[in-house]
């Protein structure tokens, strides 16, 4: 059984870009302290769902949504304080996106913005340790973040997200641009992080979903086809389409 309590739940959640419906009547739950993997072919609404959770889709004027998405039983679709929401739901993008400033500044950027002025060194150290990057960069915190390798940049971005003390981590294909060793390090970080955070992992890599997530959801053309425990999903999927996708027959 799932250990945690319900962290996020959606009721009849729909989303459109213009007239094109990209998420159709979504009903699902995400539990605290789990890693929920979301898999599915391109254009199935995975990233849109992720970006709806912290309202980054709002930047696109063509985007519309309705229904309910509850975070701790509060509807985020009608949330007024969007910056507070984004602080709680931190997203890590597919391509590492360090800001063009030093490693140290990248991490304290968020906390500073939220008014924290003291103990910044401690925040930096803790966040970097949690994202498994501390040992590699502790001697060069003042170097530009752009000098780091791709895998290090991605872990820096994770550290940066952790520094604002979120409750949910949203990973949007975090390893799509990384080599296998960097991928393994990011995955290690995720396994460790789930002890403290709720994690939603969108991935194009079915094997990655099998490796790290406790439960997996399969999206297809904006619909949730199936959601279940990873083991069951990969050994005995209920829906034929899930089976086809996982075994590589399409997608």
């Amino acid at each position: 059984m799932v250990a945690g309590t319900v962290k996020i739940q959606t009721h009849n959640f729909n989303a459109w870009f213009d007239k094109n419906q990209v998420i159709k009547s979504l009903n699902m739950q995400v539990y605290s302290n789990e890693i929920l993997g979301i898999i599915g072919p391109a254009n199935s609404g995975k990233t849109t769902f992720l970006k709806s959770l912290n309202r980054l889709n709002d930047l696109d004027i063509k985007f519309k949504m309705d229904g309910e998405v509850l975070l701790d039983n509060k509807n985020i679709i009608t949330a007024i304080d969007i910056t507070a929401l984004r602080k709680k739901m931190s997203i890590i993008f597919a391509l590492p996106l360090p800001l063009p400033i030093s490693i140290f500044e990248n991490i304290v950027y968020g906390p500073r913005m939220h008014g924290i002025k003291t103990g910044l060194e401690e925040i930096v150290e803790n966040s970097l340790k949690a994202s498994y990057l501390w040992d590699e960069v502790k001697d060069r915190l003042n170097e530009s973040a752009l000098n780091l390798s791709g895998g290090q940049q991605q872990r820096l971005c994770i550290a940066r997200s952790l520094a604002v003390e979120p409750e949910v981590l949203l990973f949007d294909e975090p390893c799509s641009g990384l080599d296998p060793i960097s991928t393994a390090k990011v995955e290690d970080a995720m396994m460790e992080l789930k002890k403290k955070y709720t994690i939603i992992l969108v991935t194009n890599n079915v094997k990655q979903a099998a490796r790290v997530s406790g439960r997996v959801a399969f999206f297809l053309m904006g619909e949730l086809v199936e959601i279940d425990f990873t083991e069951k999903m990969f050994t005995n999927p209920q829906d034929k389409r899930t089976n086809d996708y996982i075994s590589g027959r399409f997608g």
Binding site: L56, T83, R86, S90, F93, L97, Y109, M113, C157, V164
Partner: protein, 290 residues
């Protein structure tokens, strides 16, 4: 050689020639300026020229102290920049980041249209509207002051600053903004901590090109700054700029006289200043492209 090859040859050379002409012209102009100006220093020591405080080219003995002119240009330019940099950069941010897409095109075209107004018209409008206003507000004997010049020149620098700064801001990868917003930044926080930092070289280049435009401007300043070659102490005094000096005096300077050569030296100084400014701006613009 057949016809096709001859055609290729001619076109190639013609393009090369047109391409190099503009550079050759710049070099020729500079050589000509130096040649005419250098003669001047036979008669007047360079130190007196640069630090002298009296510009009396027609009195006897002639005095060619350029300090008042440099100060005049400097004061008007600084004034114009104080007004146009905040306004221009804010305007660029508004157009690039805040305004909705439909209005954006209208605004940008409008600002660029400002560049199309001939400077003599700006000077003329300033003369009949701004100059009396400055005179009445500050209760001065004349409204032809550095302040009036600065205000009108600020209008002329605006299109350059807004247009280039807006391009620089729009060129900042959208992902930077998303990353900042995802960490819980408000729109304004994302703007001033991330977008300004990322667009800084471009904004700086925009400002430098604006400065270049202001320093080189002649007609408008000649009409509304009063043209008194004295070292100014406040913005409310008449001043004379380097450019206005050349324009006003070249017609009456006797060819081959010291006065004539002195004006060429003023031209050289002006050339060096604008060249340096454009060069710096260029360096920063190239830095963005990389």
């Amino acid at each position: 050689m057949n016809f096709k090859q001859i055609k290729e040859f001619i076109i190639e050379k013609a393009i090369f020639l047109s391409g190099s002409l503009s550079i050759i012209f710049v070099i020729l102009i500079f050589v000509f300026l130096i040649k005419e100006g250098a003669l001047f220093f036979k008669y007047v020591p360079i130190k007196d020229f640069l630090t002298g405080t009296n510009w009396y080219p027609l009195s006897t003995p002639e005095q060619f102290g350029m300090l008042p002119l440099i100060m005049g240009s400097l004061l008007v330019t600084i004034g114009a920049m104080i007004i146009s940099i905040p306004l221009g950069v804010a305007c660029a941010f508004y157009i690039a980041e805040v305004v909705n897409p439909k209005l954006k095109d209208v605004l940008k075209t409008g600002v660029e249209l400002l560049a199309a107004i001939p400077s003599v018209v700006i000077g003329f409008v300033g003369m009949v509207t701004l100059v009396p206003l400055v005179k009445n507000i500050f209760n001065l004997p004349t409204g032809l002051t550095a302040l009036s010049g600065s205000i009108m020149l600020a209008f002329m620098a605006m299109p350059t600053i807004v247009s280039i700064a807006e391009d620089a801001i729009t060129a900042v990868p959208r992902r930077y903004k998303e990353a900042a917003l995802a960490l819980g930044a408000t729109h304004w926080q994302a703007m001033y901590k991330v977008i300004i930092v990322a667009a800084a070289p471009g904004i700086f280049a925009a400002v430098m090109l604006g400065v270049g435009r202001v320093i080189g401007e002649t007609m408008a300043v000649m009409m509304i700054t009063g043209n008194a070659a004295v070292i100014p102490h406040t913005f409310l005094q008449p001043v004379r700029t380097l450019t206005a000096t050349i324009a006003a005096e070249m017609g009456e300077a006797i060819r081959g006289s010291n006065h004539y050569y002195a004006l060429f030296v003023v031209g050289i100084i002006l050339f060096i200043i604008t060249f340096a400014i454009n060069f710096i701006a260029d360096v920063f613009l190239h830095r963005i492209k990389k």
